[in-house]
Structures are given as structure tokens and as C-alpha cells.
């Protein structure tokens, strides 16, 4: 069963997808090409926002809002604070745009990766119809985290603790001496 292009555009969900995909892609493109690191971070917000909206449109409310809260809310702020406290020079920075001799190989590599993965995905899933499903209630996810996934959950908490402590020890200004 193949879907013709005309039929594809008749579907409302596909228009929603296009509307979300365009800002997501543009945001990602500008994140990489921008010469100003603060702007890069702000474009990343656009891109992540698009991704979050896409999760919401797929009925994965929990994942969507996690992206909003954790990535847009926390990680982006962390980026900005990180830029501030390391006193990195704000504004345009020539070094951010890479030397032109690595641009071509990098572009080629990304492009071939894209073609490979896109071809693989189309080959595997293009004819798979997704059954309508009930959105997963968040309480189910909570129950799973504290039963089936309790070990990885606890391990993650120690990863975060270690990252916090190690980060402080490494970032703290000192004259090379410990306490």
C-alpha cells in the first residue's frame, strides 16, 4: 500500500507535521551556522520547541513536556549561565566558524549519514500504518519507573550526584590546592 503525494497532503496531521518541521529544521540550521554563541543557544530553543511540539502531536505528552521542562527550561538556562560564569566573550566570534578545509568533509559526512538513515527509515517504515492509540497516562510511567526501572532510576541519581560534585570540584576557582 503506497500513499500518493496528493493523498498525503489531504491529511491534516501531515500539515501539522510540516508546520512543526520547518521551524525545527531552521532552528537547527541556524544553531550550527550562527557566529554568535548566545544566538546559537536561542535558536536551539526554537529547534527543541519544535521537537517538543512534535512529541505532543504524536500523543506522547509526557515526553513532550519533559523536553520543554528539562531541555528548554533547564539545559538552555545552564548553557547561558555557563557562558556567563566562564566569562566567555559574548558576541561575534570568528573562531566559531570552522576553517573552510574541514567544512566540506563535515558536510559530506553529515549528508551521507542523513541519506543513509533516511533511506533506512523509509525502507523500513514507509508502509507501516500506525494504529490509533490512547496516550500513555503519566501515572503508568511513574509506576514503571519505581518498579521495573528502579535500578536504572537509582543509578541515574548517582550519575547526577557525581556530575554535580565533580563539576563543582573542577569548576571551582582555586590556586591549584585542595581543601
Amino acid at each position: 500500500m503506497t500513499v500518493s503525494i496528493a493523498d498525503w497532503f489531504k491529511e491534516t496531521a501531515n500539515w501539522v507535521f510540516i508546520l512543526l518541521a520547518i521551524p525545527t529544521l531552521l532552528g537547527a540550521w541556524r544553531t550550527v551556522t550562527s557566529n554568535n554563541i548566545v544566538r546559537s543557544v536561542l535558536y536551539l530553543v526554537v529547534s527543541l520547541g519544535g521537537a517538543a511540539a512534535m512529541f505532543l502531536s504524536l500523543g506522547a505528552a509526557f515526553v513532550g513536556w519533559t523536553v520543554v521542562l528539562v531541555y528548554i527550561g533547564a539545559v538552555i538556562i545552564l548553557f547561558l549561565i555557563g557562558i556567563m560564569i566562564t566569562r566567555a566573550p559574548l558576541g561575534m566570534k570568528a573562531e566559531l566558524s570552522h576553517a573552510s578545509n574541514v567544512r566540506m568533509p563535515a558536510a559530506l559526512l553529515s549528508l551521507s549519514m542523513f541519506v543513509l538513515v533516511a533511506w533506512g527509515l523509509i525502507d523500513a517504515f514507509s508502509n507501516t500504518a500506525i494504529e490509533p492509540f490512547e496516550p500513555t497516562p503519566t501515572s503508568d510511567i511513574a509506576n514503571l519507573i519505581f518498579s521495573r526501572f528502579v535500578v536504572p532510576f537509582e543509578v541515574v541519581s548517582i550519575v547526577l550526584l557525581a556530575a554535580l560534585i565533580g563539576g563543582i570540584a573542577l569548576a571551582r576557582r582555586d590556586d591549584g590546592g585542595g581543601a
Partner: protein
């Protein structure tokens, strides 16, 4: 209601408790080596339930007479394989901690947090050994490498240490992204992320190109972690720049975690794709041996030399696995056993080699080979211990390394077709090349003259710190024990695969 098998989880619980206690003790005391001692005791205590769990299967009065304890519907399994690896991680963490005590006393960076991070990293390795689904495994793998990234850059004031940390971090994160991408594709295809279910469900999608792509991504991602060629570029710089005790942990703990991930995933989750990862691992193994050894020939810095040597050793470890899988010869249990045997022996001798290198480095003040000239003339004991570990790495009997190589050759030649014979030939050539540079270090230490500028009296003025001495002594005993009684190491390898067999895989 969730019921947990606390006996089975006890080793992890003890180490997790130790992690938290080290943090508290670090706050209340100014004598930072107490933190390390607590870490050492915690790891020692965690070894006890590992022993009781190992023998529980053969005892009647045990609460569970099952040989392997399966939890969370097969997502977390305590079997012989997991127990052996947990033991290796605990031993490696134990030795790395002992090496650090002496090292950090001579350095002026934060100590308490350092021990905390090291024990946390060990915990990651232990959780990793039992993980039988991708969520647990990748989270545990990150607990191994996350602290390791920071430990590599612990000497903040040293540009080399910064470089070590940053290179390790960036390649590590790229590798993780690659693996996660592969895992997400696999999840999309099979609808599960638990290994035993993937093994069943992936048979129906084995012909889909995307499945092949997912397997390649996963194997390549783990390839970075084990620093196999061509994903090894970070290794020499990181090994040279990181504080030496951290390098010792990286070369066994962090690399070992990568091995465990690679072997467990390939063996348990992807039997349907042996025709993909088999040749891939075969090529990676052959390249790692050859490139690692040939480049090691030219090294003048002992830490870099050990870095390349560990790349080459990774190749030896993967060789049997790649050969059997590539030829589709079916039974993966034997190469699995050879690889685990090799890994256990490698852990002991490599930790010993690093320990000895640290002792010499501290006395001579340099890791450049030319400064190590004539070591035997003023530090005979240390030079002998250097000889023990380097000859073991080279595979000279009666030191443990020979049996590791023997098990590897037996498994590769045992395949009985050209995949096996050809990689056995590659390995044999490489064993000879490896002997040359290990012997070069020996020649320098035993036959060269003491170079100008090395003040023998200064170098010999301090006694060897007791913790380092203990660590190296343990490794010496291990190397001789495994070398003289190779059955011991083979039993460890057998023990791990026998129980894997009982899982019906």
C-alpha cells in the same frame, strides 16, 4: 508490590552506600586519606556477597538455589558472568584506589571528591555487568564514564590533563550518541529494549537494512569505549595526560565496561545479526592488534606505550569472538569464555603494570623511557616487578599473560576455517611485534646506563608508599597464580559461560 532480592543486589547496595558515606566523611574530616580507606573497605565488603552469591547455587540451604537470579522480568540478572565481572570491577577499583592514595598525597588537588568519583565509577561497572536491557546498560555505562571524564581532568592546572579530559569527554559523548541512535532504531523495529526479547523479535526483521544500520551504530559506539582501532584516537593522549592512577582505572574499568557492553549486547541481544557484527568485530580486532602494536614500537613515553599496548590487547580480546561470529560457526560460548579469561588476566597484569609505572614515575620524576635507564642498578625490586608485568603482557610463561594468549589462540584456531586461521596468524605476528617493545622497556631498565640528571639518592630517598606496594603486590601474586595454575582463570571463564548457558541462550 515490588519485591526485591536483596541478597542479589547486596554488592551494588554496599557500594552505593559507600559512595554516599565517602561524601559525608569527606565533609567532616580533614584527613582525606580516610575517605579512600572507607572506599577500599566498602569495595572489600562488597566482595563478600559476591562470593556468597557465587557459591549459593551449589548449596542447599541457600534462600535461592537457582544458579542465576533474574529480576524485573529479565532486565537485571545476577549470574556467573555478572558475578565474575563485578569481581573484576571491584578488584580494579580497589587497586586504583590504593594507587591513588599514594599519588594524591604527593599532589595538591581535591582528594575527597576524587575518591567519591572513583567509587561511583566502580558502581557503574557493577550495575553494568548485570544489566540485560538497554536502559539499564547505558545508564550504568554513563556512570562508569561520567566520573571518569572528570577524573581524567583532575589536575586542573595541567594543560595535558585538560586535554585528556576534553578529548575523552567529546569522543565519549559522540560514541554514546551513536549507540543511542542505534538503540532507538532497534527499539523502533522490535518495540522492546530488553535483550532476550530483542533476540527473539529481531529474527523477523533481520533482513531489513535499517536493522543492519542499527547494529552497526551500536557496535561502533561501543568500539569507541573499548578504544579499538579506528576509534582509538583519544586513547594515547588521554592515557598520557590523565593522572596515572586514573589511567590505570580507565585501561581496565572504563575499557572493561565497554567490553561488557559489546559482548553482552552482541551475544544476548543480537544473535540474529552475527553476519553483521561478526565481520565488523573481526576487522576491528585485526586492526586494533596491528595498529596498536606497530605504533607502540615508536613510543618513548611509557604511559603512551601502555596506551597503545592496551589498544592492541583489546584486539587480542576481540579476536576469538570476531572469528567465530564472522564464520557463522554457531557456538559462541567458547570464544566468549576465551575473551572473559583474557579480560580477567589482562585486568590483573595491566593494573600491576600501571602500578609499577607509577612507582617508577614518582621516583624518577618522568615517564620518558630514556629516564628509566639502569633502573635495576638502584631499584632492583621495582625493576623486577616491571619485568614481571611487562613480560606477562608480552605473554611469556609462566606469567599469566601466556594463558590469556593460549586461550585466545585455542579459540581462534578451533574455529577451523580461514576466518579463524587468518586472525590467528595476524595475532601471532602481533604477539612478536608486541614482544619487541615490551622487551625495549626491559632493556632500558636492566641494561642501559643510568642517565645523567637522574639522582639515584633522591630517587631512592623515600620508601614505596604502603598502599601502592600492596596494590602491586596483589597484582604480582595474581599474575603468578593465574600463570602457574591456568585452570583457575579458565574456571573463572567457564563459570561465567556455564551460567549464561543455563539461560537457554
Amino acid at each position: 508490590m515490588l519485591t526485591l532480592d536483596y541478597h542479589a543486589l547486596l554488592p551494588e547496595l554496599i557500594v552505593a552506600g559507600t559512595v554516599l558515606v565517602t561524601l559525608v566523611v569527606d565533609i567532616v574530616t580533614r584527613r582525606k586519606h580516610l575517605v579512600a580507606i572507607i572506599g577500599v573497605l566498602g569495595l572489600f565488603a562488597a566482595a563478600v556477597p559476591i562470593l556468597t552469591l557465587s557459591f549459593c547455587g551449589s548449596l542447599d540451604f541457600c534462600s535461592s538455589t537457582e544458579a542465576s537470579r533474574v529480576m524485573f522480568g529479565g532486565a537485571y540478572v545476577i549470574d556467573g558472568y555478572a558475578l565474575v565481572l563485578k569481581g573484576v570491577f571491584i578488584f580494579a577499583g580497589f587497586v586504583a584506589l590504593l594507587l591513588s592514595i599514594g599519588y594524591l598525597e604527593s599532589d595538591r588537588y581535591y582528594e575527597g571528591e576524587y575518591y567519591f568519583l572513583l567509587v561511583a565509577s566502580v558502581l557503574g561497572g557493577m550495575a553494568m555487568a548485570s544489566s540485560r536491557d538497554f536502559v539499564s546498560m547505558i545508564v550504568a555505562l554513563e556512570l562508569v564514564s561520567g566520573p571518569a571524564f572528570m577524573l581524567a581532568g583532575w589536575r586542573k592546572g595541567d594543560a595535558r590533563s585538560n586535554e585528556a579530559s576534553l578529548k575523552f569527554f567529546i569522543t565519549g559523548v559522540i560514541a554514546l550518541a551513536l549507540t543511542l541512535f542505534g538503540v532507538s532504531l532497534l527499539y523502533g523495529l522490535t518495540g522492546t529494549q530488553q535483550f532476550d526479547q530483542i533476540a527473539v523479535l529481531s529474527e523477523t526483521v533481520a533482513d531489513v537494512p535499517l536493522f543492519t544500520l542499527a547494529v552497526i551504530f551500536i557496535v561502533l559506539g561501543f568500539g569507541f569505549k573499548v578504544s579499538a582501532v579506528p576509534f582509538h584516537f583519544w586513547t594515547p593522549d588521554t592515557y598520557q595526560g590523565a593522572p596515572p592512577p586514573v589511567t590505570a582505572w580507565l585501561s581496565v574499568g572504563s575499557k572493561g565496561a565497554g567490553f561488557v557492553a559489546l559482548l553482552t549486547v552482541c551475544y544476548l541481544a543480537l544473535p540474529a545479526a552475527t553476519d553483521v557484527w561478526g565481520p565488523l568485530i573481526w576487522i576491528v580486532a585485526a586492526l586494533s592488534m596491528t595498529v596498536g602494536n606497530v605504533v607502540a614500537l615508536k613510543q618513548t613515553n611509557v604511559m603512551r606505550l601502555l596506551g597503545y599496548s592496551s589498544i592492541a590487547q583489546a584486539g587480542f580480546m576481540l579476536a576469538p569472538f570476531g572469528a567465530v561470529a564472522a564464520s557463522g560457526a554457531g557456538d559462541l560460548a567458547r570464544p566468549f569464555q576465551a575473551t572473559i579469561t583474557y579480560f580477567v588476566i589482562y585486568a590483573v597484569m595491566n593494573l600491576g603494570a600501571f602500578g609499577t609505572a607509577i612507582i617508577i614515575g614518582q621516583r624518577v620524576g618522568s615517564y620518558e623511557l630514556e629516564d628509566w635507564g639502569g633502573l635495576s642498578k638502584y631499584a632492583t625490586g621495582v625493576a623486577l616487578s616491571l619485568a614481571v608485568f611487562f613480560m606477562s603482557l608480552a605473554g611469556v610463561p609462566p606469567l599469566a599473560g601466556w594463558f590469556a594468549k593460549f586461550a585466545m589462540f585455542r579459540a581462534t584456531i578451533g574455529v577451523g576455517n580461514w576466518w579463524g586461521y587468518s586472525i590467528a596468524i595476524v595475532a601471532a605476528v602481533n604477539a612478536v611485534i608486541a614482544f619487541v617493545y615490551y622487551a625495549k622497556v626491559m632493556k632500558s631498565a636492566f641494561f642501559d646506563d643510568v642517565p645523567e640528571g637522574i639522582d639515584v639518592d633522591v630517587a631512592m630517598s623515600d620508601a614505596i608508599p604502603a598502599p601502592i606496594g600492596l596494590a602491586v603486590g596483589l597484582a604480582v601474586v595474581g599474575v603468578f597464580l593465574f600463570g602457574v595454575l591456568p585452570g583457575l582463570a579458565a574456571n573463572v571463564g567457564n563459570f561465567s559461560t556455564d551460567l549464561l548457558g543455563t539461560l537457554g541462550l
